[in-house]
Amino acid sequence: MRISPVKTTTRKASIAALICMSATAMTVQACTDLSETPVSAISPDNYYRTQAEVIGGLAGVYAGLRNTLDEYWNISEVSSDENIVPTRGSDWFDNGKWLELHRQTWTPTSAAGVDNINSAWVNLWAGIARANVVLNALKPNQVENQAIIESELRALRAFYYICLMDMFGPVPIVTTTEIKQRTQDSRADVFKFVETELLAARTALPAKWDAGNHGRVTQGAVDAMLVSIYLNARVYSGTVTTAGLTPGAARWQDVITVADRVINSATYSLASNWNANFNHTNQTSPENIFVVRFSVIDGLGFNHNMKSFHYNIANFGGWNGFSTIAETYNAFDDADLRKKIFLVGPQNNLNTGAPVLDRAGNRLIFTPIIRDATQAAENEGARIYKFPIDPAVTNQHQPNDFPLYRLGEIYLSKAEAQNELGQTAAALAIVNTLRARVFTPAKPLSTALAQTAARTAIYNERLFELTNEGKRRQDMIRNGTFNGAWSFKAVSAPFRILLPIPTGQLATNPLLKQNAGY
């Protein structure tokens, strides 16, 4: 058969094209593999195999401590008489949530309920979830120092549970990682769980870490947590109804026992300079037992002061919000060194020392009096400035550590327990050791006070000593003053010693039971 040249070409091309098409079709099989392999993230299957990898997971659980300084701290402080966030024009109005916190008028659906309280709930649980992930991943593995790391994780998880129990009372005890609806355990059971976990974790932990690991959980940190829960045992192991607290058993002797273990451990001592516990070199404070670590690095710096700083008071500005109320400022003795934490009067730039002007260009003068919390002026309200910045650092990422527990508090807790057990003179003697470093000339309390007067004195001393350290709400609840009246706050219902579970959380987990009164 004779084939014309054109046709040959055509046929050849046809064949070539067909082969080409089939080749493409054959690669199809290979192209239907759709498995996913992330490249810039890790899968848990190939992680947690070495100590270094596990410490990466551990660091993530520690990182949650920073979040406790957000809403957990805000609620603890603003719902007490230590802090108020007045509305200044529109500034800090925020749908009324800050004044709601101060007035204790929150509900599960209110501005504070869906914002601050919900964030506190979510952030604290995230710490627990992160700890559970690492603890469960470690179960089948064997890495160096595993017992220590597991103990740290359990202690950290217990710390987040203390905060949850403190605010929300009964919550589910969860040690696994699946996401599911769960019922609550009673507050007393959570208390027991925390105590058991802390005691178990304590054994493997070191008394002290080397300098390179400063900031990790120690036996002293666990003991401080124990002191804290024993001190609040009547609250934490009690129940709350609309009528208020039905207290559980007191654990005063346990407070003393564990506090003594800390005091006598020779690991900690009172700082002779009270400020050394808070200033930008407070990493070396001998008194701080467990801190939230900060560093002058973007995102890892301590920027707590921003909440109260005026816009122009430092080179890095401020948010001009949190202030204290006049009666709290006035409760401090003028001779008390600790009163210097308040910024009042004409202000100078904290970095440069130059006079600070307000927005309108006039000298900024802070006044302790807030005339109206719903319409405060730019300069109203004394500001708490307990954690002095490093003037050399011109941005908000400051190096101060935040003490979650320090020896000063352990002293006061022991004193309170002693007084409750009738050892009033001994208790006041302890308080006086703290007062000795902040009064020149010395101004000790009389050790002859009656138990009731001593109780008030110790309660007040905790205010002077621990202002802004996030303890005030606990102290007021334990002393029955939380529902009282103070500036811009009327008497509140006794069930408000517990916060409501935010509505959204009840919707996503209908097995949760709302706290009484809400």
């Binding site: 091309a13 094209a17 067909l18 080409c20 493409t24 079709a25 199809v28 192209c31 759709l34 996913e36 992330p38 490249v39 890790i42 899968s43 848990p44 990466g56 997971g57 660091a59 520690y62 200044r88 024009g89 529109s90 500034d91 925020d94 749908n95 009324g96 659906t109 869906v114 914002d115 979510v122 649980w125 995230a126 979830a129 992160r130 992930v133 996401i179 599911k180 769960r182 390179g212 690991n213 400063h214 670590r293 690095i297 122009n312 080179n315 890095f316 500005g317 970095n351 307000d358 927005r359 260009g361 006039n362 319409q375 002026a377 011109t394 941005n395 908000q396 509505t503 919707a507 996503t508």
Partner: protein
Amino acid sequence: MKFVRVLGALTAAMMWTVQAHAQGATGTITGKVVDSTSQAPIASAAITIVGTQRGTLSRVDGGYTLTGIPAGTVTVRVTRIGYSAFQQTLGVTGGGTATLDVALKPVAAFLSEVVTVGYGTQRREQITGSVATVKGADANVGVMPNVNGMLAGRVAGVNVTLNTGEPGAGAQVRIRGGTSISASSEPLYVIDGVPINNVETEAGGIGLGGSPSLPRSPLTLLNPSDIANIVVLKDASATAIYGSRGANGVILIETRKGTAGSSQLEYDGYSAMATVARPLDILNGSEYRAFVQQQVTAGNLASSRLTGLGTANTNWQDELTQTAMTQNHNLTFSGGTADTRYRASLNYMNQDGVVIANGFERLQGRLNANTSALGGKLQLGLNLTSSQVNNRYIAFENTGGFEGGVFNNMVNFNPTRPVFSATGSNPYYEVGPGRQSVRNPVALANQIADNAVTNRTLGNVTGSYAFFSSLTGSVNVGVDRSGSVRKNFFPAVSPSGAEFNGRARQVSRDVSSATVQTLLTFKPNLGESQEFEITGGYEHADYNIGEFGAEGRNFLTDAFSYNNLGAGATLLPPFSFRETSRLASFLSRANYSLKNRYFLTGVVRRDGSSRFGEGNKWAVFPAVSGSWRVSEEGFMDNQTLFSNLSIRAGYGIQGNQGVAPYASLTLLGADGGARYVFGSTVFTGVIPTQNPNPDLKWEQTAQSSVAIDYGLKDNRITGTFEFYNKNTTDLLLTVDVPQPAVVPTQLQNIGSVNNRGFEASINAQILNGSTRTLSAGLVLSADRNRVESLGAQQFIASGGVSGQGQSGRNSQRIIPGQPLGTFWGPEFVGVDAAGKQLFNKYTVTRDASGKETGRTLAGTSTSPSGDDEMILGNSQPTFSMGVTSLGTWGKFDLNMLIRSDVGQQVFNNTALVYATKSNALQDKNFLRSALTDGIGIQEPAIFSSRYIEKASFLRLANVTVGYSFKLPGTSGRNGPTRIYLSGDNLLLFTNYSGNDPEVHAASGLASRGIDYLAYPRARTLTTGMRIGF
């Protein structure tokens, strides 16, 4: 092949039936049907003998033969969509053959065109789905940096909202409403057959106290002058061929191709002048001074406030805005032979913003070549676009808190302060040295450097080969690669950079995708009355996105700008990420038509996406649709009203995979927020970054639609009426999960959304003379969107309110039974004697689950609580309308576009925050409307119905007048020279009090209709010309 034989047998049987009727003395009519102007043969013209059932269709060569015609005088009618009907009487003799050649006169209608429908083309009348076409030349008017703008007001059911008036601004494009909540609601874009990955090509900006402005459009790489047609696939039967990505509609962009003939050289270009269309009304210096004086007298402000005022009288808005110039130049040459055609174009565009110190610049080259070889059996094509887009940004916010960028400070900054400082190293006036929470906005615009250059290449090669006349195979390989570097510098002299003593950052981003398509098309010849075509193929696509960035701070000098990061004494850890995903698909479509009257289309696509859980990666998306061209039926022969009448219906299922990759997996991330310091060392923290959902699967949209296509009076009036109903189920929704959880939310397939609507279009050829033509078009659409279910959640709060003192406040709620974009808050009723705002107070009753069962009005309150909040309105229009008009009058031509949205509401967040006198407590300025609102200076800005405004509008979007003539010195072969004058956004009728009612600030899930200090829109005048040499 069996199928073909069956069809063949069927056809034969039908032919036989026709023959069988031919009894007695009969004759034959034969002839040829051609186009009266081009003399080109016309296929598929219907030739009928009036009053009988006898008829046939013309062949591809235009020829036809009618046999068995009873002898005598008969009337032959020849009709073809797109042409005037032809009718003639002639005599037929028994056994004889009469010849009747017919030249049909085309009518000005779109119906005869061949339309790209995705993986192929179809004649307009064959299309059984909802497909709309916009001609590039008609829509490319005025200043058009972005192809999305070409769709606005021109297609029923397509809603285009530019985010802001920024040059190159991104847009929200919604086809038949938004179907999704958490996943993307953006349509799929397909350029020359290649689906593109329409994600941002540049890294995000840095916010100044808020979230940075929304990204500019990634589609600016395309030059609108290169676009021949934009085809919008709206319903399931049209989009199902795109399966998993079709749920939000598909936009097919076809670029212009070369045509055979001698080479053509063409220049077209324009220059434009733009000004701010509607400035904000802000107090000037003396008014502000008078206000402070009055408040000092009233005792509301300290007297020191008066002495603290400056002496200047600065209109910050005037200082920040300008008459902005745009220039655009295109040079095109094209040509070729019958076998090989090419078109090459070069484009340069430079658009300055109406706000100073920002703009958009594009340099783009494009090449298209097609060749046909082997006697037409092999077709090869190439499209290559390479562009460089240079975006110059200024710092403004999408959403924001109490500090902010240019527009926030434009309103806030005290107008008694000067622009420039008399003293100090910084030429600009600032309130003080170092960081400031109010900042000179002119300095912010000029001192902060924020630039990004994107290089993007988009190309595809196609090859098709006809193995047989009925079987064609084709391959389409496309690549899309972009690389960009975004560079930011905040100098130490600026209050925005002082805190860091200078802050410089560079972030590179690369986005690439590669697509391979292989298709086989089988189209057997089934005779004259039937057509059948089946296309099957495979498609594979790979997507890859990565970023790398570094930042330096603490510079000795501002001189380095962003060019020497290492000179910073403080270096932030560099950051990077990469993610990849893949899509594999098998697709098939079959079209069958009978007698050019009955059309049936079936589509099946099996799609696999790497983004979903094991076991849920594959899904099948089917669709079926049909149409009946009633006008082709015999019983329509004796009417002259309808030149075309067609009924269409379709149903199909499409998917949405618009979620991030890896969502089904447990991922551990070295998240910055998980770092912790032990000792003095920062330890990398590794935490789970999401709650995995191994059951994650496609979001599915089932859509049904029915439509009528009509042509009246020889198609002088054409159009469509269409109804659709879309049910989206298994919504990809981010929902809260029970605690404890590593993060509070999880992506789940929960809930459903319904969209139903009506679309109409009318095109009328009003004048059709040789020197005067006038046509007008109207598109109308009404979409009703409703959230059907959100799973266990009663609502999702969205639409976060921006501004000082607004944190935690939301303006919208997604609620089952309500549309997306429902506004939620307290009802404002007035102002009391003390200058406090009053709101309706309600007593609400609830059932056990906490669901509201009733509410009664219980007076008013100055501090609304949760119970006082209710539905305040909705941001979705009742209907949208576009009117176009095209006309010629001798050498003059006119093109006009009017757009209107009616019934929607907008949350004027700008007014909430900046029309509040209490700003003056902080030495901040405010909008003039606050002077007379009766509200006290101490009253904070409280979100309420007061700021939910009616935002219906009618906009004269564009008017273009052109004049065409033969320019001496040009050959005139390539068309006349045309000069034109064009105006954009000339008139706006609205009661909305803000800057512009068409706005989009993204603030939470599926939020829409929020206006927060948007970059102002321009009114633009353009002069341009085109010369064909």
